[in-house]
Amino acid sequence: MPKLNMVQAINLALREEMQRDKNVVILGEDVGRDGGVFRVTEGLLEEFGAERVIDTPLAESVIAGSAIGMALYGLKPIAEIQFMGFIYPAIDQIFSHAARVRSRSRGRFTCPIVVRAPYGAGIKAPELHSESTEALFCHMPGVKVVVPSSPYNAKGLLISSIRDPDPVIFLESTRLYRLIKEEVPEGEYAIPLGKARVVQEGKDITVISWGSMLHRSLQAVGGFDAEVIDLMTLNPFDEETIFKSVKKTGRVMIVHEASKTGGFGAEISATIAEDEILYLKAPIIRVTGYDVVMPLPKLEDYYIPTVERIRKGIEEAMKY
């Protein structure tokens, strides 16, 4: 089985889905001739042609909005936003339309689009190239949010996202793009949306994370009997897997890169408190980015949760 990095795994998922279903099209800035600024769509223009791999004008609102129009007409568009920090002009379309088409038309029209965007810090990029504002999208009913943490999962989750009948925001960690390689099978396999993955079993504490922070968390749990959960789909998220784990461990730590206030950790934390508070032995701990504008490269490493900060969080929970 070939060992692929995340860029290659996502590329493979796109290629296979396009081969399988001629309604699948890709649109975005520099996705064609350039193969995407991260090369995620490399080779697809050559294989599928300019009608299916569309280099659009530089305009995020029309990238998202025309994807919606294509979806209404029966295509399965995959829109690429070059970096998550540039998704804001598209939010009007995503929130006012993609999220509501099904509801507004009482099911007559649906919006099976995928909006892919690289997210997150750690590659020393310029301003607005390091955002992780996933919680904004989780807040909007009608939008699903998926964040893979490894090549294998990225492929399976993207296939499910493409086939999903509703809009999916698919966030790809730039830091992970080429960091890890693992075996990724060719051919179809879908990892269902809405299901989390227990990466490592343990008895003392449940560590919940996603995307690039999952790897930091895994580095930090050494020496502890920690159960590590990769959430994978943030909305709708897998309460069942979390509850089961919390019942067993009685302690919870959530790790995310986004700033703390209103981050998705808050939602998980509240959900656990609502349902499982009687099983908790310790306060729920959140280790997150700070409540600041994401700094430029010189201070980037101070912003991103470090292994040390995550370890401290576990130690704190283990005091109880």
Partner: protein, 351 residues
């Protein structure tokens, strides 16, 4: 009833200085020899800055950088038509504008080195920080122009962006607003033919970008963006018009991005060497030199002095930038709000 033509648009193109260094005297703006030499020196300084920035990036001493190579005349020619009291809303590829306005060079290196303190504009200048999200600075230019108008200030607002930027909704909304309210703003589009890998003709089906202005009810003109005299003249007229209260102007500087999009890009993937080579002959600095040579303003000795001076200034700026102490981690909290929030105060205890 017959169909009538109710509106026609003429789009003017301004060329003054050709590739061989000849000028059209009838169009030549009034510039003294000293001013012309000043232009040449700024062009050289900006290019020297740019080349050094690219090498620093390659050596790992600076972050991702967007080169201005090839676009110097568009930037310096337009900025020279502005006053320090004017307001400037740049994108991310306007180092020549910053340099012309007298922005401290070391701060530019500091910024591209990943330190936001570098874009804290010194008092006495009104240059907004580098704007990374394409096109999003255009509404601010319209708003600042509206405020200046309201306050009765006789200033102009200059807004810079690329050909790609003209595809964004914000651009069109700002142009429309500027037209409706006759705002004192000059929209300066550096059409460098590429938006990363997407060529100009894939941004718009219109023949020129300048003609976009017509739809918003004001004048758009195309100038040879590698001709510093043409850029200067067009901008000067637009700025004077803005100050007079006669409304906005759109200037399309027809130029070329000689470098990769940024240091993170490889332009060889999407454009040919022949295309790039053809633009080499149109170099903005070379043609001014040829003009100066013909007019007795240039000598080998002068060239040496200009180059050495530029190199000294740039080297000094790099030294200064690199000697600046690393920002304190706490700095990232300081400017979120005027006052720290209770939560930020807790978070800061990590440092």
């Amino acid at each position: 009833m017959p169909v009538r033509v109710i509106e026609t648009i003429d789009i003017k193109r301004l060329d003054i200085l050709d590739e061989k260094g000849n000028v059209d005297e009838s169009l030549m703006p009034a510039l003294s020899d000293i001013e012309i030499k000043g232009m040449y020196e700024l062009l050289t300084l900006s290019r020297t800055f740019d080349h050094h920035a690219l090498s620093l990036q390659r050596e790992g001493r600076m972050g991702t950088y967007a080169s201005i190579f090839g676009q110097e005349a568009s930037q310096i020619g337009s900025a020279l038509a502005l006053e320090k009291s004017d307001w400037i809303f740049p994108s991310f590829r306007e180092m020549g504008v910053y340099i012309t306005m007298g922005y401290p060079l070391h701060m530019l290196f500091q910024y591209w080195g990943g330190d936001e303190r570098g874009v804290k504009c010194p008092e006495g200048l009104n240059i907004f920080p580098v704007c990374v999200p394409v096109g999003t600075q255009t509404p601010h230019a319209a708003g600042a122009a509206m405020a200046a108008k309201y306050k009765g200030d006789k200033i102009a607002v200059a807004c810079y962006f690329g050909d790609g930027g003209t595809s964004e909704g914000d651009f069109h909304e700002s142009m429309n607003m500027a037209g409706v309210f006759k705002l004192p703003v000059v929209f300066i589009c550096q059409n460098n033919q590429w938006a990363i890998s997407v060529p100009r003709e894939r941004q718009t089906a219109s023949k020129t970008i300048a003609q976009k202005a017509a739809a918003y009810g004001f004048e758009g003109v195309q100038v040879d963006g590698n001709d510093i005299f043409a850029v200067y003249k067009a901008t000067k007229e637009a700025v004077d018009k803005a100050r007079r209260g006669d409304g906005p102007t759109f200037i399309e500087c027809f130029t070329y991005r000689m470098s990769d999009h940024t240091t993170a890009d490889d332009a060889a993937r999407y454009r040919t060497k022949e295309e790039v080579d053809a633009w080499k002959a149109k170099d903005p600095i070379l043609r001014l030199r040829l003009f100066m040579e013909k007019n007795g303003l240039w000598s080998e000795q002068y060239q040496k002095e200009v180059e050495e001076k530029a190199k000294t200034v740039v080297d000094e700026a790099i030294r200064t930038a690199e000697a600046i102490e690393h920002p304190e981690p706490k700095d990232m909290f300081t400017y979120t709000y005027e006052k720290l929030t209770p939560r930020q105060i807790k978070e800061m205890r990590d440092f």
